[in-house]
């Protein structure tokens, strides 16, 4: 799993990646120095929980992916079923090409998840 994350982070513009459970526990992490793994996982989990709940209020469910862009970076969260893949990227990274890498990493990680269960 860590190899998948490390390979993902070799792509230009990708600053870090981690896999976290839906209740905010870090499974594996490869974030850049200065980023707190546990705090990041907890924050992403809180964001996703509230977003899923809010989407439920408007009659929507089953979010597959969320991209959050901020002034100093981007976060991509992909649903792996039992966990989430969180990728931190440079603000100016063109995600059109980056998403292919994230999707293939998601597939690889989902397969690992199934094998582990």
């Amino acid at each position: 799993m860590i190899d998948v994350l490390k390979r993902l982070c070799t792509n230009p513009g990708f600053l870090g990646a981690m896999v976290a459970t839906k209740d905010g526990i870090v499974v594996k992490s490869h974030l850049q120095a200065g980023m707190d793994d546990d705090a990041s996982a907890a924050l992403v989990s809180a964001l996703l929980t509230s977003t899923t709940s809010l989407l439920g209020n408007v009659g929507l469910a089953g979010m597959e992916q969320i991209v959050l862009r901020a002034s100093r970076g981007k976060i991509v969260v992909a649903d792996l079923g039992i966990a989430y893949l969180v990728v931190v990227a440079d603000r100016n990274l063109d995600l059109d090409s980056g998403m292919l890498e994230i999707k293939s990493a998601s597939k690889a990680l989902s397969r690992i998840g199934r094998i582990a269960v």
Partner: protein, 377 residues
């Protein structure tokens, strides 16, 4: 001959687009001008057009991206040469030149990194700490991240330690404390400014405002945290150019533009919350929600999501929340934010996302055109 003819056509086309960009109330034409200049190979002209466009539309993400891309392509040699001089010379002047270059093109994050190195090596130089404070507080005003504000204030306090009579440092401290609501500290530094510079007209004007305000009850750290959580300052200065939804005619114009976005192919519904105006538009028709009405669920989603995403982005260290894209098998939702204003677009067809996003960005950038923000009475 053909080359000359093509150049004449290019010049004519550029003039037409430039004229349109001057009167367009959205950044669309300015973005088109930048793209046209880039296609013509006129990188510096594209960079300048993006820079001028950002003065008019400071919240346009497209223009910021264009400026960053053109700056990177045109200035990489300049940055390399300045960094080379720092490695060989390491004088304060070289560091300051590099930071000034970054600031000229709005590269606040690169400037902040350069400032960190600069302060580590020349932390006793007055000009160095003043410039570092300027950069950090610029970032604080942009992102409302408490840590930037705190570091900026520390730099200014270091500056007054180095030179207790530095008017610029006291004035910047006064303004920053005023911005976050620390009235007593703002008054303290205001009187320091007036002691050294009794004819400081801006200080005299600010004195009239500060004299009327109640003193703060919270510590500085708590005030900074409140600014971070609310995405705005407690005290703000009068706007000279802004689309205030309370102004007659502006509300109608904003809603009409929103309806146009809702009519785009792939868009099902839009929701906007902007400075007291809450409106939802679906297939060209609108509903405005007054303060005592129960808002549309999509509107509630927009404001709650913006708050959550904003705090999460800041706490994760990636700055101020700008936009988000949520996808599922049946469709997508785009959420775009500037400060406390949020625009939400719900739609179907993932291939429509880039087009709708560009249009939504232009709408929001045109909406929030302002040199500075409005005051609370």
């Amino acid at each position: 001959m053909l080359g000359l003819f093509k150049r004449v056509l290019d010049v004519g086309q550029t003039h037409r687009v430039r004229r349109r960009a001057r009167i367009d109330s959205s950044p669309r034409s300015t973005i088109e001008l930048c793209a046209l200049l880039q296609r013509q190979g006129r990188l510096l002209a594209a960079r300048e057009a993006a820079r001028e466009g950002l003065i008019r539309f400071p919240y346009s993400l497209e223009l910021r991206q264009i400026l960053h891309a053109t700056w990177k392509r045109s200035s990489s040699q300049v940055v390399k040469s300045l960094e080379g001089r720092i490695v060989t010379d390491d004088s304060a002047g070289d560091h300051l030149q590099l930071v000034a270059h970054y600031l000229e093109f709005g590269e606040l994050d690169s400037a902040a990194e350069a400032c960190q190195r600069m302060v580590e090596r020349h932390g006793q130089n007055l000009e160095v700490v003043l410039v570092a404070a300027e950069v950090l507080l610029g970032r604080f005003h942009r992102d409302h991240v408490a840590e930037d504000g705190s570091l900026g204030l520390r730099c200014l306090l270091k500056a007054v330690e180095i030179d207790p009579k530095c008017v610029r440092a006291h004035w910047d401290l006064c303004n920053t404390y005023y911005y976050i609501g620390a009235v007593s500290k703002a008054v303290f530094h205001l009187y320091k400014v007036l002691d050294e510079s009794p004819d400081h007209s801006e200080a005299r004007e600010l004195q009239k405002i500060l004299d009327r305000l109640p003193l703060e009850r919270l510590e500085e750290a708590e005030l900074l945290r409140r600014v971070e959580e609310s995405d705005e300052a407690k005290f703000r200065v009068e706007s000279q150019r802004g689309q205030d939804p309370r102004e007659p005619g502006v509300r109608g114009a904003i809603c009409s533009h929103l309806e146009q976005v809702s009519l785009m192919a792939g868009v099902e519904k839009t929701a906007l919350s902007h400075r007291g105006l809450d409106v939802v538009s679906e297939r060209g028709s609108r509903k405005i929600f007054e303060a005592n009405e129960v808002p549309d669920p999509l509107l509630s989603f927009a404001t709650t999501f913006r708050r959550t995403a904003s705090l999460s982005a800041k706490r994760m260290g990636i700055g101020a929340f700008e936009e988000s894209e949520m996808c599922w098998s049946g469709g997508w939702i785009l959420a775009l934010a500037v400060g406390r204003s949020v625009l939400l677009v719900k739609g179907t067809g993932s291939q429509r996302i880039p087009i709708v996003r560009a249009e939504a960005r232009n709408f929001l950038a045109g909406l929030t055109i302002a040199a500075t923000e409005a005051v609370d009475d």
